[in-house]
């Protein structure tokens, strides 16, 4: 039903979105690329000029960079593994005929709606705080020393906080997928004597493949940019122990006020994100509904 005029009209309708998104991405990216080859420090504005690859060299030679890269991957992979595995288990449990399933779903989904700074602040102050936190009180109750979560295990603590936020998302999507599985198929398998483990492995898991890949894709997009949780709790510390790549770039720009180096870091982050995106889109993009 597409005529020549409707084609033109549809181009005009799509154009604003495409142009705006292009400007939003391309202009800043081009500027970041430009700054990354420049000497540009807010604290010494009198000096400027081209410095070639110096900023990149500084970034790649900094031990903090490799730590930040490791931390970023550990955060993304850690949260993905925890949320997908627990998400499958919890979805299996809630999918059973359970009393009050509606209220149950409401309780389980709640953490997802808690904004990152609030989630981080709840855990930091009310639970992980070494004097006033609930965990410390429990430890004292057993006569043990309180664990210094954010001081001694900053990255693991942040992985825990972020997993708590994203577990509802994974659970909800896996649960939705599970509920579209026909019960006849499972009943037939049960009659034929398939054990619960085999039913899970050969019927439920294949059915969930698409949902799991979607969970991984969407979560990776959001997890690569995790910021508010770190900013609220550890500010990347102690030292650089919980600094991810985005947070390291943020620190270079805001604390060190070195725009050139931060820009080089930004370009490196874009390259890495593109590598991740390439594999994700190839592996998972075909599962999307286009």
């Amino acid at each position: 039903m597409a005529t020549q005029s409707s084609r033109v009209a549809s181009r005009l309708m799509v154009a604003p979105s495409v142009i705006l998104l292009f400007i939003w991405m391309a202009v800043p990216l081009a500027l970041t690329l430009y700054y990354s080859f420049r000497f540009y420090r807010l604290l010494s504005p009198e000096r400027s000029g081209w410095v070639g690859l110096t900023n990149y060299r500084w970034f790649l030679n900094s031990p903090d960079f490799w730590l930040a890269l490791f931390n970023t991957l550990a955060l993304v992979l850690g949260v993905l593994i925890i949320t997908v595995v627990l998400g499958i288990l919890i979805a299996l449990l809630i999918d059973q005929p359970v009393r009050g399933q509606g209220v149950l779903r409401i309780l389980v989904i709640a953490p997802f709606f808690v904004m990152p700074p609030v989630a981080a602040s709840i855990w930091e102050n009310l639970f992980m705080h070494p004097q006033n936190g609930l965990f410390a009180a429990i430890a004292r109750g057993f006569g043990a020393q309180p664990i210094l979560f954010l001081e001694q295990y900053p990255l693991a603590s942040i992985i825990g906080i972020v997993s708590w936020q994203w577990l509802p998302f994974a659970t909800l999507i896996l649960l939705t997928a599970m509920q579209s599985l026909s019960s006849e198929q499972l009943e037939a398998a049960e009659m034929d004597g398939a054990s619960a483990l085999n039913r899970f492995r050969y019927i439920i898991m294949p059915h969930l493949t698409r949902a799991i890949t979607v969970v991984i894709l969407i979560q990776t997009i959001f997890l690569l940019g995790i910021f508010g949780e770190i900013y609220t709790t550890t500010q990347g510390g102690p030292g650089s122990a919980s600094t991810t790549l985005p947070y390291m770039i943020f620190k270079q720009a805001i604390a060190a006020k070195d725009i050139g180096r931060a820009a080089a870091g930004g370009i490196i982050a874009v390259i890495l994100a593109n590598i991740v995106a390439y594999f994700l889109m190839r592996g998972i993009g075909r599962h999307l509904d286009t």
Partner: protein, 276 residues
């Protein structure tokens, strides 16, 4: 896949499922309980529950702080404003892609999704400087623009998946019956598209309300929404736990309620239609 089960097993799964759900919800519950305690009860050791001095004073105090209502209002304006502007731009685009798909439509959608993968920090400095030059730093307008653009790919995608389910034949039938373009849009398309637009709107308000990168980077005090306020709120040695909890509870409550209403659409929206 509800299947017949023995009552005993049913009871066990019910207990197990409720225990898990309560553990997941507990941090939110504990925060809400703390918000009704006095500051000294809030940090009492061992923690008190029944013996706490319950009070509403924290809510009164937080709201009476001259700036809290402003942070709250900023959140409302930014979340709703960026969503409405985003919808106005995205509806025509999603519409055209769903009803007049070209050879490049699929690539275009994928490109839009891929812009979401761009790390925000990579474009943070130029955007900050551009916003500074245009006088948009620490203004609600600036944040509406930033969050609108940030979420535009998601809005287009969601709308696209909803619009695509509207059968094209209905349009042709309406045209056969002599309906003009205006009637076609008002009487045929809008009623069919509204549910999709509404759930896109809800999800996007949630995402914008909870955004905590651009709100922190692009504001200082004047236009800061709740996410930036809570992120900068540090509780020195537990002095303000109860008030922090009250401020947090008010910050998440509107979204918690919106979210509970939209949880069905949420799955579909957040998975770009891949899981329904």
């Amino acid at each position: 896949m509800a299947r017949a089960q023995s009552p005993r097993r049913r009871m066990l799964t019910t207990i197990a499922a409720w225990s898990v759900a309560l553990i997941i919800f507990f941090p939110v519950l504990w925060m809400i309980l703390t918000s009704f305690k006095t500051e000294s009860s809030a940090v009492a050791s061992p923690p008190v529950l029944l013996a706490a001095d319950w009070t509403l004073q924290n809510y009164v105090d937080v709201w009476a702080r001259s700036d809290y209502p402003r942070f709250f209002w900023n959140s409302v304006v930014i979340a709703v404003g960026s969503t409405l502007v985003g919808l106005a731009i995205a509806i025509p685009a999603a519409w055209a892609m769903a009803f007049v798909p070209g050879k490049r439509t699929k690539d275009l959608l994928m490109w839009m999704l891929s812009t979401k993968m761009m790390p925000a920090v990579a474009v943070m400095i130029p955007l900050y400087l551009l916003f500074q030059q245009m006088g948009l730093i620490d203004t609600k307008t600036g944040l509406v623009v930033a969050l609108m653009l940030m979420n535009l790919p998601i809005i287009v995608w969601m709308l696209y998946t909803y619009f695509k389910e509207i059968p094209g034949e209905i349009l042709e039938a309406a045209r056969m019956d002599g309906a003009g373009l205006w009637n076609e849009i008002v009487h045929v398309l809008t009623p069919m598209a509204l549910p999709g637009i509404a759930s896109t709107m809800l999800l996007n308000i949630i995402l914008a309300w909870n955004e905590a990168f651009w709100t922190i980077v692009l504001t200082t005090t004047k236009a800061a929404p709740l996410s930036a306020f809570i992120a900068s709120f540090s509780a020195p040695q537990g002095l303000f736990y109860a008030k922090l909890s009250a401020a947090s509870a008010m910050a998440i409550l509107p979204i918690l309620i919106l979210g509970w209403f939209s949880q069905k659409q949420l799955v579909r929206g957040l998975t770009f239609g891949a899981v329904k």
